[in-house]
């Protein structure tokens, strides 16, 4: 669904492509309704009974140790921190994505269901939507780049699994946790 949003956004935003694709009303409708329904699979995954691990992961994403903050500040060069299941950069991406979904929905709603809003708010919403879209594209490029250069991580996104050896090396704090439980 994310891809549909980004792909439909391209002709909506870039004039030269709008000229080639045309049918603005159709493209815009696809974009809007995909955006409205995007949270559905996310919420289902988190709120369903199958979401226990995901909810625990969200707690990891939120609560950072001092060591993790130091790791982030050192841009990942601090070798003394024992990393969690997700490294601080990945945790930041989750928070950023969550925030983006909400802000894009909010500003998109002002742009599409514009009736109650003054023109200056509609202009402001368009402004925020455009600026954030740019950041989102940059983050996606970084995210895909990281995935393509880190095969174990890429595989883990698809299969949901990593080897014990990988975990001990790259996510030792989490590996310890898992070992302590078994």
């Amino acid at each position: 669904m994310f891809s549909v949003l980004v792909l439909t956004a391209i002709p909506l935003y870039f004039g030269s492509l709008a000229a080639v694709v045309g049918h603005r009303d159709v493209v815009a409708r696809i974009h809007v309704w995909t955006g409205v329904f995007l949270p559905v699979p996310v919420l289902l995954s988190v709120l369903g009974p199958w979401g226990r691990t995901l909810r625990a992961d969200l707690r990891r994403v939120n609560r950072w140790s001092a060591g993790e903050l130091a790791w982030l500040r050192s841009f990942g060069r601090d070798a003394f921190v024992r990393l969690d299941k997700l490294n601080p950069g990945q945790k930041l991406n989750v928070s950023f994505t969550g925030g983006s979904i909400v802000v894009m929905l909010m500003t998109g709603a002002v742009m599409w269901w514009f009736g109650p809003f003054p023109d200056s708010w509609r202009t402001g919403a368009t402004f925020v939507h455009d600026v954030l879209a740019t950041f989102i594209v940059v983050v996606i490029v970084g995210h895909v780049g990281m995935a393509l250069t880190h095969p174990a991580s890429l595989r883990s996104m698809i299969t949901g699994r990593v080897s014990r050896r990988w975990a001990r090396r790259h996510a030792p704090a989490w590996a310890d946790e898992m070992a302590a439980e078994s």
Partner: protein, 242 residues
């Protein structure tokens, strides 16, 4: 799950802060973004183009036209072939060539271009002929009440009442920002209704028909207001903008 986090070790709620921070920034941006954009656009105007394409398109948050077409491409026509017809309830139907149009008394308008969904380009310059002038040339009959505008894209139409059309800020525009109106912007000639939202300004204008009642156009048939005054229509009732 006995995670270090759960045992009460001091943990900074970075996730929540980032999330809430973004939402707060987003909401603030909705309210003040319009002013920020005015400032950004004024600063960048000398070096960028509002036209909707090129490198400037990669800079978000500044004034830029979005290019809309409701058909599957942008229509275009060389100026030598262009004709603007003025027909319907008139004494002398007209069929004006591009050169004839340019030969008529011209009007320059510099106004903000406001889309009903929010995007805005400040102080856009349009040159053209007042619709009022065209109506006088054709001689409007007493039974006339409204105008219907047709586009050579074959789909888009628009309307204005006679009073609205006779305003000093409603023109058939052949000039955009000091140059010609390109096909991207609805050229060679488009309607420009300065005090109303952009959708009233029918692009690729081919004909003006003088009629006895308003015929709702393309976007009106999709639920938008017929009288699309900026700030005083489509849900709002604010003081008018520039």
């Amino acid at each position: 799950m006995r995670s270090p986090r759960a045992t009460g070790e001091v943990a900074t709620p970075v996730g929540r802060r980032v999330f809430l921070g973004m939402v707060g920034l987003g909401a603030a941006g909705v309210v003040v973004g319009s002013s920020v954009q005015r400032w950004v656009a004024a600063a960048l105007r000398p070096v960028t183009s509002v036209s909707g394409g090129g490198v400037s398109a990669l800079i978000p948050g500044e004034d830029r036209f979005r290019i809309y077409t409701v058909t599957d491409s942008l229509p275009s026509m060389p100026t030598s072939q262009y004709r603007l017809s003025v027909t319907g309830l008139v004494e002398r139907p007209l069929e004006l060539s591009f050169d004839q149009l340019k030969g008529m008394p011209s009007t320059t308008l510099v106004r903000d271009f406001q889309c009903v969904t929010g995007w805005r380009v400040a102080k856009v310059r349009w040159d053209g002929v007042l619709i009022s002038t065209l109506l006088d040339e054709a001689g409007v009959l007493p039974s006339a009440r409204a105008l219907r505008f047709d586009s050579f894209d074959g789909v888009y139409t628009e309307s204005l009442t006679l009073d609205q059309a006779r305003r000093p800020d409603v023109i058939a525009a052949y000039g955009f920002e000091g140059g010609p109106v390109t096909s991207q912007h609805g050229g060679p000639v488009r309607l420009h209704v300065a005090p109303m939202y952009g959708y009233k300004s029918c692009k690729w204008l081919s004909g003006i028909r003088v009629v006895d009642r308003v015929e709702p156009g393309y976007w009106e048939q999709n639920g938008y207001d017929i009288d699309a005054w900026v700030g005083r229509s489509n849900g709002r009732d604010d003081a008018p903008t520039s």
